[in-house]
């Protein structure tokens, strides 16, 4: 999950999610970086709307509320 956290950290800090940035963050955390995974991550995240996902993460409540009625 480190790679994902690194990406989310960059996102939350308003920085771009680039291979370089992710590598820097991971290395600062003492992680031995796998270049291929970084590449794959950046590529995969290109099509993901992170803000939307964050919204969804807060959602379960709304979902849970409905059936309770």
């Amino acid at each position: 999950m480190e790679y994902v956290y690194a990406a989310l950290l960059l996102h939350a800090a308003g920085k771009e999610i680039t291979e370089e940035n992710i590598k820097a963050v991971l290395q600062a955390a003492g992680v031995e970086v796998d270049e291929a995974r970084v590449k794959a991550l950046v590529a995969a995240l290109e099509g993901v709307n992170i803000d939307e996902v964050i919204e969804k993460a807060a959602m379960p409540v709304a979902v849970a509320a409905a059936p309770a009625a």
Partner: protein, 288 residues
């Protein structure tokens, strides 16, 4: 009242006295009530109301007499509502309560040919105690899906055999009676009720209790919302007020990512859920 028989005079006298001694005077129609249910009804009225059945003309005279003696012309308006086999019902119950009471006292009664259905008549699905016979054919002719099952007549599905207001035919009455379905209602039909200068008709008196219950709930929610939203504490709302304040504080802390004992789980959890949801979007080889 020149040629009026002595017993009639006495009857009018008594009725007028009765009318004068109660605040609520109602006219009811007892024409369709058989003797036995009527006596049952008198029983249920005991202590709540007094019912006197008489001739319509005598009731009219009694009302006029009472109105005159009470110097109350409003009371006389009641005369215009006499019809059918009228009876006089006097009570302390307010007209709305009286109407409600009479409605609740109505009993189911067997179908009678030539009488309109008070509401949709339904023959319910399921087995019946009836043995096979010509009745099955009659049922099917009326659109009732009847079949023989295990030697008895069985109805395949709920069927509306008559809509409210339609007239019951002799054939249908027979079938309903055989099935033990009692689609009619027997009871005192309120024609009008007088209290305090006002004559109330059934249309006015038929109150929708459901609506009142909704209003009660709405009024309570209003009070609840007002109390909680303005933080004016009451016994019933103090807990909600505390909870609202707490959750407000907690949600602000969670949103701000400010970790406290109370928010650590939420904040870390939310961050993790985000990571998890992101991970779900990633190709498998990226996952640990």
């Amino acid at each position: 009242m020149a040629h009026v028989a002595e017993w009639k005079k006495k009857e009018v006298e008594e009725l007028a006295k009765l009318i004068k001694s109660y605040p609520v005077i109602a006219l009811v129609d007892v024409a369709d009530v058989p003797a036995y249910p009527l006596s049952k009804m008198r029983e249920s009225l005991r202590g709540k109301a007094v019912l006197r059945v008489s001739r319509n003309t005598l009731i009219e005279l009694a009302i006029k007499k009472a109105a005159q003696e009470l110097n109350n012309p409003d009371l006389e308006k009641l005369v215009g509502y006499i019809q059918g086999g009228a009876g006089i019902l006097v009570t302390e119950m307010n007209p709305f309560k009286l109407y409600k009471f009479l409605e609740e006292s109505k009993k189911p009664a067997p179908a009678k040919p030539g009488v309109p259905a008070p509401k949709d008549i339904v023959v319910p699905a399921g087995p019946t105690p009836l043995s096979p016979g010509p009745l099955v054919g009659e049922m099917q002719a009326l659109g009732i899906p009847a079949r023989i099952e295990k030697g008895k007549v069985s109805i395949q599905k709920d069927t509306v055999v008559l809509k409210a207001g339609e007239i019951i035919t002799p054939q249908l009455a027979n079938i309903l009676n055989q099935l033990g379905i009692e689609p009619l209602e027997v009871g005192l039909k309120l024609l009008a009720a007088y209290e305090d200068g006002i004559v109330y008709t059934p249309e006015v008196l038929a109150i929708d209790e459901e609506q009142y219950i909704n209003m009660l709930q709405q009024a309570y929610m209003h009070a609840f919302n007002l109390s909680v939203n303005t933080a004016y504490p009451t016994k019933q709302t103090i807990e909600a007020i505390i909870q609202k304040a707490f959750l407000g504080a907690k949600n602000v802390a969670v949103e701000a990512g400010y970790i406290t004992k109370e928010t650590a789980g939420d904040i870390l959890g939310k961050a993790f859920r985000v990571a998890l949801l992101i991970a779900q979007e990633l190709p498998e080889e990226l996952l640990d």
